[in-house]
Symmetry: C2
């Protein structure tokens, strides 16, 4: 059986990236690798859409970079505002708690985007808040939060940072770092960047770099100042995941060759087709109003276990998708359309999930779903 990976991380690795990572191991202190580090930094700036900010990579998962975003910019006793509308929103709060930072949580129903007014109110109630933390794409619910509108609230406040988890959003949705005046944005390798997990990426505004000088939270491995000073010279503070960095170099070259606008448009088209297909099939989306273009969360029809859909997709068709987490477990299944994914993968995912749902007893019109998705691809 052909195996196809359509989980919202990890995502498929392109053959060119896989080949780059299988090269004989180079020495990370050699001149050739320094060039890779310097080039990656510049190409990350392109992907983050920043010329004024700084970028760096870390050897860790996206959660490590989230921790880094807080411990490098905050001090003990600080207050931050957290948009908490899913598993990853919770993570901001949990990190803050671990470091003695008070998180004011804006709790949002899982599947909904935060209301910009709620953030505005929280900022009014907590004018000394040192940061607003939000997911650009909340992977657990398939929701896209209104990053630009929130950044607009934050940008006039000299002591408040706009911190964005773009782990499953960088290279998927437009998030122009400089233009929107984001201060810290973190991303992961195993999403739109088409790499295995193990690397995380960070962009830092001038405002964030100023905040770093005042931060007193303890840090060592995740010290952005140390890592940035090293990477500006083509070095790394600690031995990096060399093979993944070699893959990153190829992945970023592939993305640059495709072009930023085209990458964003492709992801949007894939997501639109997935949503149109699912709806035409007779299914309901978890986040119809503010969907993320990274992955689509589809409600399991009444009486059907979302986990059974995941299992049947795998056992019957070799297609690996994700179910719901925590309070959404069994209630949804998630189709990813991030990274090394094209229109035919979407048709495959829709056809297979429709087939599985029919077998589980749901009334779905797979032909109609496929036609609706294909119609999206055939638009203009």
């Amino acid at each position: 059986m052909k195996i196809r990976l359509l989980t919202p991380g990890p995502t498929p690795v392109s053959p060119e990236v896989a080949a780059a990572m299988a090269q004989p191991m180079p020495y990370h202190r050699a001149a050739a690798f320094k060039e890779v580090v310097l080039r990656s930094r510049e190409n990350l700036k392109w992907l983050f859409q920043t010329t004024k900010g700084e970028t760096l990579f870390l050897t860790c998962s996206g959660s490590g970079a989230m921790e880094g975003a807080l411990v490098n910019t905050l001090s003990r006793g600080d207050t931050i505002i957290v948009v908490r509308g899913g598993k990853f929103g919770e993570r901001w709060s949990n990190i803050a708690k671990a470091y003695g930072v008070e998180a004011v949580n804006i709790d949002v129903e899982w599947g909904k985007a935060v209301a910009v007014d709620a953030v505005k109110k929280a900022l009014e109630q907590h004018p000394k808040a040192k940061a607003v933390c939000v997911q650009a794409s909340e992977t657990s619910t398939g929701v896209g939060h209104p990053v630009k509108a929130i950044a607009d609230l934050v940008k006039g406040r000299p002591d408040t940072l706009m911190i964005v988890d773009a782990i499953s959003a960088l290279g998927v949705m437009p998030l122009p770092f400089d233009e929107w005046q984001i201060d810290v944005m973190v991303a992961g390798s195993q999403k739109a960047l088409m790499l295995p997990p193990g690397l995380a990426f960070v962009a830092l505004s001038a405002k964030a770099q100023e905040a770093m000088k005042k931060s007193d939270l303890p840090k060592f491995y995740f010290s952005f100042a140390k890592e940035l000073a090293s990477q500006q010279k083509g070095e790394t503070a600690w031995t990096p995941a060399i093979s993944l960095v070699l893959g990153l170099d190829v992945a970023l070259a592939q993305m640059k060759a495709e072009g930023y606008e085209k990458i964003v448009a492709r992801h949007h088209r894939l997501a639109e087709a997935t949503r149109a297909g699912a709806k035409a099939m007779g299914l309901e989306l978890l986040a119809p109003e503010s969907p993320s273009d990274a992955c689509t969360a589809i409600k399991a029809p009444n009486g059907i276990d979302g986990q059974a859909v995941v299992k049947e997709m795998r056992d019957r068709h070799g297609i690996i998708i994700a179910g719901g987490q925590d309070q959404l477990k069994g209630k949804i299944f998630r189709l990813s359309h991030m990274g090394y994914v094209d229109r035919f993968d979407i048709l495959t995912a829709l056809a297979a999930s429709g087939d599985v749902l029919k077998r589980l007893g749901a009334k779905v019109d797979v032909e109609k779903g496929l036609a609706a998705a294909e119609a999206v691809f055939n638009q203009g």
Copy 2:
């Protein structure tokens, strides 16, 4: 030109491991990957030589695991004793400082092993010290510290932990975790484990796990308790470096097939041959009295720049070795014999470094060096 990697990290990756890592990306929450996690945990127990302790892996460099070793077992204001005889000894102190832990440093001349009496005295002067931190192999100087003798001093003290950096020693030198009563031992993937960098490994004694319950230093990504609870179920706290974990599975299987005693004997033989060859050639070792079997630091002969040796080795012969760091820069060059290395690699390294030294004007007898190394290989 054939390129050969003989740096003390990264080390060469075996073709079987490279192939495993180039597999199409699996989902880390699938049953097959859970089996890999559980098997890796068991095989790590074998490599750490522990049945009573626990093991886990982390997605980070060895330095991340060193940070984890301290932040999971200590509290703010604690005192620890650090053996500081090289770049990695300094790292223990620097991590402690970042977290408000007082490090009592036993400064040891770079190239020498710590005197056991100095540790004994430090423990007498600081009876409340919560840990003794030492490198089993100080990679920057090629020194092996007397881990067993130090562990013997610590084991009777209920409130003091024996913390060992075995990053370049696990799978090289005998470090039986249970037998020597070590409490926390950390290792890295890019050394004897024949993997690219990006994973680190930890073993924890029951005493260390008790200390973890009292530790109040902040931690999130590096929380051993969280990671251990996950890995006991075949999961991971955060998305792991999946491709490296697939490589780990193969590397540990290869090591088990070779056998623990044979691995240790092979590394010792390779190291002995390197040392005998260098000496017979007319060269001086930096650490003749207490050498590590992981890598051999050779003094650059009078009037010759150690960095020139490194450069010529690479440019003329395609052999990548390391020079000295910090205060040893230019004074030494280091030949590694860790991991996927055999006797012919040692002859190659000796022949090439002898050739380069001659060209740089040193008086060395390469033939005699090769004969001495070969004689070691031909012993019993």
